[in-house]
């Protein structure tokens, strides 16, 4: 696995030198979603809680970048990232405290409600949030350098691209450690059987809460990148359909695998851009693809790859990986 990851990093690092700028700018939202979904999947894939409102935290990241850069004059990307992510964690605290009391569909509905609450705040309070047009995001500085000599595309496909790559690698590594730490294994345990996990001393609600906060942090970082890339933070980022897209990407790549969401983010971004170029009716085809994935390939692209690999080599997956594989694809016999 680490071999593949290293190869992917090398390819991505070389990309700005070989690919046309259009494709390089496409990779930026893919980085953003990859980071956001790594956090999202700690909650969905690892902990087994499906949120239908995580676009809320992506939007907090985006609006954090917008407010800091164009209202408060803060231009340092490092400060913006940290402040927005902390703001998202603070906002996530009450949401998580209320939501983690529930599981399954009620958890999804409660998070959706909070997402819509924030969306209507962004949408309606024009004076504060700029209403439906949102707030502009000004170009940030990286490590104190403002790259005045570069135009917008050069900045985005140059220094900013590498900043995102570094962020994705570092945050991806941290998430890998979280998922494979005793904490992550306890999350997986409480997903599989909350009652048993509780008997064994797992503090179920506290752990769900912490996983929720971490996912909010990651989503906000993704939101900052998205906003800097488009130069705009708008309320659509918090809409429930955007939350749905987050789930879509995760399932497309495969929620049962660590790198699934990353694959899902890249596939989704390129698929969407290609489809939009081909037809006005790209939503229909995206929906059809989602339906096919849900019906026929619930383990997503990573599931397909793994099955293919097993068929080719005749080698089963390593037992250590099965611990992290959720069994939630089939409904459990005992409805909790």
């Amino acid at each position: 696995m680490s071999g593949f990851a290293a190869a992917a990093i090398v390819v991505l690092a070389a990309l700005p030198y070989v690919a046309p700028p259009y494709y390089v700018t496409l990779v930026l939202p893919a980085f953003a979603y990859a980071i956001a979904l790594l956090g999202f999947n700690l909650l969905f894939g690892t902990t087994g809680l499906l949120s239908f409102g995580h676009a809320l935290f992506v939007a907090i990241g985006a609006y954090g970048a917008a407010v800091l850069s164009s209202r408060m004059g803060v231009r340092s990307l490092e400060v913006i990232l940290l402040a927005s992510a902390l703001a998202a964690v603070l906002a996530a605290l009450p949401v998580a405290l209320l939501s983690v009391r529930y599981v399954r569909i009620f958890f999804g509905i409660l998070t959706l409600a909070f997402g819509m609450l924030f969306h209507s705040f962004l949408f309606k309070f024009y004076d504060l949030t700029g209403g439906d047009t949102g707030i502009r995001v000004l170009r940030p500085t990286l490590l104190g350098l403002d790259f005045k000599a570069l135009d917008k595309t050069q900045f985005l496909t140059g220094p900013f691209y590498y900043a995102c790559l570094v962020l994705a690698v570092v945050l991806g590594f941290v998430m890998w450690r979280i998922v494979h730490s005793p904490f992550g294994l306890q999350l997986a345990a409480l997903r599989e059987n909350p009652r048993k996990a509780e008997y064994l001393g797992v503090r179920v609600r506290l752990f769900r809460l912490i996983a929720f906060l971490i996912s909010a942090f990651y989503c906000a970082i993704g939101g900052v990148i998205l906003a800097v890339n488009t130069g705009q933070a708008d309320p659509e980022l918090a809409y429930w359909t955007h939350s749905g897209e987050l789930v879509f990407m995760t399932v497309l790549g495969g929620f049962a695998s660590f790198f699934g969401p990353v694959i899902g983010a890249f596939t989704f971004i390129f698929l969407k851009s290609e489809l939009m170029g081909l037809t006005e009716y790209w939503r229909f085809f995206l929906g059809a693809i989602l339906a096919i994935i849900v019906i026929a390939f619930p383990r997503g692209l990573m599931g397909l790859v793994k099955d293919g690999w097993t068929m080719l080599t005749g080698r089963a997956r390593k037992p250590t990986e099965t611990v992290i594989e959720p069994t939630v694809i089939k409904r459990t016999a005992i409805e909790q």
């Binding site: 409600a113 209507s120 749905g244 399932v251 009716y281 995206l286 929906g287 989602l290 089939k330 409904r331």
Partner: protein, 293 residues
């Protein structure tokens, strides 16, 4: 006083339409345990198809007063998509809720472009046909008779639905299946057929709601996703799976929205969702829902 009655009438009218969609949502959730995000898409489809049907009927010499029956018929005819979509949903009945929810989300995406393909991206309206039936004047306030007819129709549907579920043999079987699927299957109920009828009925309530509302509001591509937001609020406030909950929830949401719009428009959706969250915190199962865990 005038504004109070305006709010009341507007709110109740909106509540009546919301009730239809929410009742469909409740029926499908109650029996099939699926939260159908595509309920808003059925509603929008009903609205667009209603416009086409009325225009078609008008072009073929139907008198203006006939447009209400035409709309009702359009809504009922559209329910034929119900069994087709149920066939698709069948593939995921045994799966986790996350996948069922995602499949209905896929339907939302697909329907968005189906609507765009047939009716274009611009919002469509039925002119002021809703004035065909004249106005009702009550003291100082007056409102279109059409709105009263829709309220009556919605109430009638609520009563019929209630009688069907409570008093008929098939209604009892439906409720038994909602209570315990395995047991009712063991006792000989044809659950596959029940699922088909329930989903079709749910679809019908959605398309009918959309067809009835369209003379008073424009049909647009934002309609499906915006309605889901309100219909969700209704079922959460009322309690997932409860018909009485749908009725009370629809009234709360409809009146709150109407009051917010006329007094402080910024609070429209915000006010509704504050209520939703308060309810979920105090009574997570909703006002009439069965307790969870």
């Amino acid at each position: 006083m005038t504004s109070f009655f305006d709010v009341l009438i507007g709110g109740v009218f909106h509540a009546c339409v919301l009730f239809l969609v929410a009742a469909g949502l409740q029926l499908v959730f109650g029996v099939q345990r699926i939260v159908n995000l595509a309920c808003g898409s059925f509603y929008a489809l009903g609205a667009y198809f209603g416009i086409t049907a009325v225009n078609w009927a008008g072009a073929h010499g139907a008198p203006p007063w006939a447009f209400l029956p035409v709309l009702l018929l359009a809504g009922v005819l559209l329910a034929v998509i119900g069994p087709l979509i149920e066939l698709l949903l069948r593939t995921v009945y045994k799966r986790d809720e996350a996948f069922q929810l995602l499949l209905t989300f896929a339907l939302v995406l697909m329907f968005q472009d189906v609507l765009r393909f047939f009716w274009g991206a611009n919002p469509q309206q039925l002119g002021n046909l809703s004035m065909t039936y004249g106005k009702v004047t009550l003291g100082e306030v007056s409102f279109p008779t059409y709105n009263v007819l829709v309220m009556a129709a919605s109430l009638a549907i609520a009563v019929v639905l209630g009688l069907f579920l409570q008093r008929t043999r098939y209604g009892r079987i439906l409720r038994a299946t909602a209570e315990n699927r395995e047991m009712s299957e063991a006792l000989g109920a044809d659950v596959r057929w029940i699922y088909t009828t329930v989903f079709t009925l749910g679809t019908l309530l959605g398309t009918l709601g959309g067809a009835l509302v369209v003379p008073t509001a424009a049909a647009s591509l934002d309609m499906p996703v915006e309605l889901v937001v309100e219909a969700f609020a209704v079922v959460v406030i009322g309690g997932l799976g409860s018909m009485r909950g749908a009725l009370v929830g629809a009234l709360i949401v409809g009146l709150t929205r109407a009051a917010a719009i006329s007094f402080y428009a910024e609070l429209e959706v915000l006010a509704i969702y504050v209520i939703v969250i308060v309810i979920l915190v105090l009574r997570p199962a909703g006002l009439f829902g069965k307790p969870i865990e």
